[in-house]
């Protein structure tokens, strides 16, 4: 079967910094793929190339058989890619539900409509998406009054609103309390499995990564140094050396045990 996303030989340089070098991987529908690596490894850069925020210097990105390399974000979104950002990006002057309504208005091609009031459009559908991420009861709160963890959940609802095939999540749980993290990752993987959405995510939290990813890529200085199942990556000596270290390996092991118990 053709993979949902296949990325081949991506390169990106910023002046003297190599943020991506021969980055190659693929992702199946319904799969959770994690990219891990130290700060500055090029994780966000990879997300931004797939999402269209950055244009790769070389390489190709193919989504469900269609080449999307170098297309602008809005076209990539139209082809079925939703995303969240490392620093949450929402419409800060709007209410929670209006944020999701905005995504739906765009999804239905109504952004130039000057007929009805925007707040009347797709309100129920928007609340439906908020319910999926557990935010329905906060629908009418201004988004700038929310705790950061809740903002991230709103962002997820926005990303889901266009019924994407692929979800890009750059550090979805950064800035959250540990309990919130587990909940959000569980939520994400449930949604992904239920709707057959492929998820590419990155995390510094080992529980999230080793507890929820189907496969893991390890990125260091723009290069993939290892790839495999959580157990393979955890036991990889090179990964332990350059990234996980002793503490990281312990945390990863614990996360695997918990995941095994949960099943």
């Amino acid at each position: 079967m053709q993979p949902l996303l296949s990325v081949t030989g991506l390169e990106k340089r910023f002046g003297g910094v190599t943020a991506g070098k021969d980055v190659t991987f693929s992702l199946a529908a319904g799969e959770m793929l994690a990219i891990i690596g130290p700060n500055g490894a090029g994780k966000s850069t990879t997300f931004n190339m797939v999402g269209g925020q950055l244009t790769p210097d070389a390489g190709s990105i193919v989504l469900a058989g269609q080449d999307i390399t170098g297309k602008p974000p809005r076209e990539i979104w139209r082809l079925g890619v939703g995303r969240t950002f490392q620093i949450a990006q929402t419409f800060i002057s709007m209410s929670v539900v209006e944020n999701v309504q905005m995504a739906l208005i765009s999804h239905h091609g109504q952004t130039r409509s000057v007929k009805e009031a925007a707040t009347r459009l797709h309100r129920d559908a928007a609340i439906g998406f908020l319910a999926r991420v557990g935010m329905a009861d906060m629908a009418d709160r201004p988004v700038n009054e929310l705790a950061y963890g809740d903002v991230k959940r709103v962002e997820l609802a926005i990303a889901l609103a266009s019924e994407p095939k692929l979800l890009l999540m750059d550090e979805p749980t950064a800035g959250m309390a540990p309990k919130e993290r587990t909940a959000l990752m569980q939520l994400t993987s449930d949604i992904a499995r239920a709707h057959g959405i492929g998820v590419l995510f990155t995390e510094h939290d080992m529980d999230s990564v080793f507890g929820h990813a189907d496969r893991i890529l390890v990125l260091v200085r723009g290069e993939i140094i290892a790839t495999g199942t959580p157990d393979e990556v955890r036991s990889n000596q090179r990964v332990k050396q350059v990234y996980l270290g002793e503490a990281g390996s312990q945390a990863a092991l614990k996360a695997r045990r918990q995941a095994a118990e949960a099943h």
Binding site: P73, S95, A161
Partner: protein, 636 residues
């Protein structure tokens, strides 16, 4: 074209480029470090010239030597540098963290204050300076005489460039300037030194502007229009060269002045259009200028200064607006001619201000040149009626919004490619270019005098009937525009303002929507301009002037840019106050400048914003922070 002519033309171009660079380099350095576009840079230039025509002749009394001439020039520049320090300490320090719109306005407030101060001290008459001793002769070049002083100026630019590069690379101060220009984070880490760096930078910037002004006195009498004429050129240079880049400014000044020197041979009247075309091409190919770096687009952590949540009218508010509208419509019946005139003007300006707030308050598109579209509408209407066509008013009032919309479509196409401060500068540059075109195209536009005889059709000839013509057109347009804020289109603009990244990632074509908004706002402003031309019975370049753009900004700020209806209240308050006080004082600009700064520092939400705040405080919630600085501090 013979060779000698070519050489002379080149030399004049080089001399002008050199002078322009000296001034623009200061603007670009100050921007690089403080991220403030200092309108008052043009004022520093003007002050440099006025200082020099005061100090230099006095020095030459002692001895007519070249040395004393240049001592005088340097002394003038130093005095201006000190004025720059005062401005930094008294004003800029308080506004580094406020939104760009307020920064630009505050420095423009200084421009207004300086204008009246200069007028008070030196008077309205141009002051011719002495010529430089030892450089009063011409030098024979290929059979043509070329002024020695111009030849000297050619070397000043490269010398200043060399000196600046030396400072930038060899002194600690210079290294800090470069570091701050390249890396914003680093400035925050400087701690105590930050204040010194910023003050020092303002000294350097003002010194360069003052030097540029002082060096002009043998070629140009000191006059009160110098500030605004140079600031546009300096803006164009920094935009083309890349903001913050000194070498970029040098190259841009060279290109522009050479283009003018030779363009004048090919298209004698429209060198300005050439500069415009150059700027347009550069911005399409390199949006950050020839040597500028893109501003890293970061997510918005601070609440935007514009419209927040949209509320519909409560029943009480609807009542208030209905009563106000009815009261307005009774003015021609109950009021005198003066009130009818003011009523017409308020409706006209309210439409223009309302359309501006669609861009600024709702779209975050800070336009500093809205008068361009207002003026184009006014001229389109006025010229149609008075020109060979002798068109009727009805046709002219159709043409006005079309012309305004067309101009907005043309300029907006380039403007929406930029954002933030770059965008604001470009709107201003386009407005100034429009102004210059209408000002210089004397055969058609009547130049400075404009054109008289722009009268309404016979049925609408009385003030009272014309009042109702304006009322119908302006009020329906305002109602239609207000509706836009609430529609998906209006929300989309606001979404793009809040986070362009997020908007793009949910499929919104940000540029196209902004462009459409620009066209709508331009058309509305054009209609306002058309209506205004018939109420005045004439057209003249003040309708396109920067002062007009600033008035529009003041109207929406007085009302409050966080509210949809604020601009209407703001227009009524601002215009009434202006109309009442302006004839009473010789220092209107001084007071306007002080009011602008006061609004920025203590009253940034305007009248309606303050009323809302008051109501909220009386109600339940904690008040929102009152000043933009406070907002920035709290969220930082």
């Amino acid at each position: 074209m013979d060779l000698s002519f070519f050489v002379i033309q080149t030399l004049s171009g080089l001399a002008s480029a050199s002078s322009l660079f000296v001034i623009a380099s200061g603007l670009t350095i100050v921007f690089g470090v403080t991220r403030i576009v200092n309108f008052a840079h043009g004022s520093f230039y003007m002050l440099g010239a006025y200082m020099a025509v005061t100090i230099v002749p006095w020095l030459l009394e002692f001895d007519r030597s070249p040395t004393l001439f240049f001592v005088g020039v340097l002394a003038s520049a130093l005095v201006v540098g000190v004025l720059g320090v005062i401005m930094e300490v008294v004003l800029l320090r308080r506004i580094y963290r406020v939104p760009e719109l307020f920064q630009l306005l505050a420095t423009f407030g200084v421009v207004l204050i300086v204008q009246d101060v200069v007028l008070k001290i030196w008077g309205p008459v141009d002051i011719t300076g002495p010529r430089a001793p030892g450089m009063r002769h011409g030098i024979e070049i290929l059979g043509q005489r070329f002024p020695a002083y111009e030849l000297f100026l050619i070397f000043v630019g490269p010398a200043v460039l060399g000196a600046l590069l030396l400072i930038m690379h060899k002194t600690r101060f210079g290294v800090l300037i470069r570091a701050a220009t390249q890396d914003r984070e680093m400035v925050g880490a400087l701690g105590v030194n930050q204040a010194m760096l910023f003050t020092g930078t303002l000294f350097l910037g003002a010194f360069l502007a003052g030097l540029g002004g002082a060096l002009q006195i043998p070629r140009l009498p000191a006059n009160t229009g110098m500030d605004l004429s140079i600031i546009t050129e300096a803006f164009v240079v920094t935009v083309i060269g890349g903001m913050g880049s000194v070498p970029g400014a040098f190259i841009a000044a060279l290109i522009i002045k050479m283009l003018e020197a030779f363009g004048i041979l090919i298209f004698p009247k429209i060198t300005l259009v050439l500069v415009f075309l150059l700027m347009a091409v550069v911005l399409v190919v390199k949006p950050w200028g020839l040597m500028g770096k893109p501003e890293v687009a970061s997510g918005r952590a601070v609440l935007p200064e514009g419209i927040l949540n949209l509320k519909g009218f409560s029943r009480k508010e609807t009542m208030v607006w209905v009563v106000l509208t009815l009261a307005l419509l009774l003015v021609p019946i109950l009021g005198d001619t003066y009130k009818v005139k003011v009523g017409i003007e308020i409706m006209v300006f309210a439409l223009a201000a309302f359309s501006l707030n669609l861009l600024i308050g709702n779209g975050g598109i800070v336009s500093f040149g809205h008068a361009a579209y207002f003026g184009v509408g006014a001229y389109a209407a006025g010229l149609l009626v008075t020109g060979p066509l002798k068109a009727p008013m009805e046709l002219a009032l159709v043409a006005a919004p079309l012309a305004g919309g067309l101009a907005a479509a043309l300029f907006g196409y380039f403007i929406v490619r930029l954002s933030g401060i770059y965008l604001a500068m470009l709107t201003l540059a386009f407005a100034q270019i429009t102004y210059a075109i209408f000002f210089q195209w004397v055969e058609v536009t009547g130049g400075d005098n404009g054109v008289v005889g722009v009268w309404p059709s016979r049925w609408a000839a009385t003030r009272e009937v014309y009042f109702y013509v304006v009322a119908v057109l302006a009020l329906t347009s305002i109602v239609a525009l207000r509706h836009l804020f609430y529609t998906p289109f209006g929300y989309t603009l606001r979404a793009a303002r809040d986070s362009a990244n997020r908007a793009d990632a949910i499929g919104i074509d940000v540029k196209t929507h902004r462009w459409l908004a620009f066209i709508v706002a331009g058309a509305a402003a054009g209609l306002a301009g058309g209506l205004y031309s018939f109420s005045k019975g004439s057209i003249d370049p003040t309708m396109i002037s920067i002062a007009m753009s600033i008035d529009f900004l003041m109207m929406i700020l007085t009302g409050g840019i966080q509210t949809v209806m604020g601009p209407l209240v703001g227009t009524a308050v601002f215009h009434s106050v202006k109309d009442f006080f302006m004839p009473l004082t010789d220092f209107w600009r001084f007071f306007l400048g002080v009011s602008i700064i006061a609004i920025v520092l203590i009253f940034p939400k305007g009248v309606v914003g303050a009323l809302d705040g008051l109501r909220e405080r009386l109600g339940r919630r904690a008040p929102t922070p009152a000043t933009p600085a406070a907002v920035a501090r709290e969220t930082a």
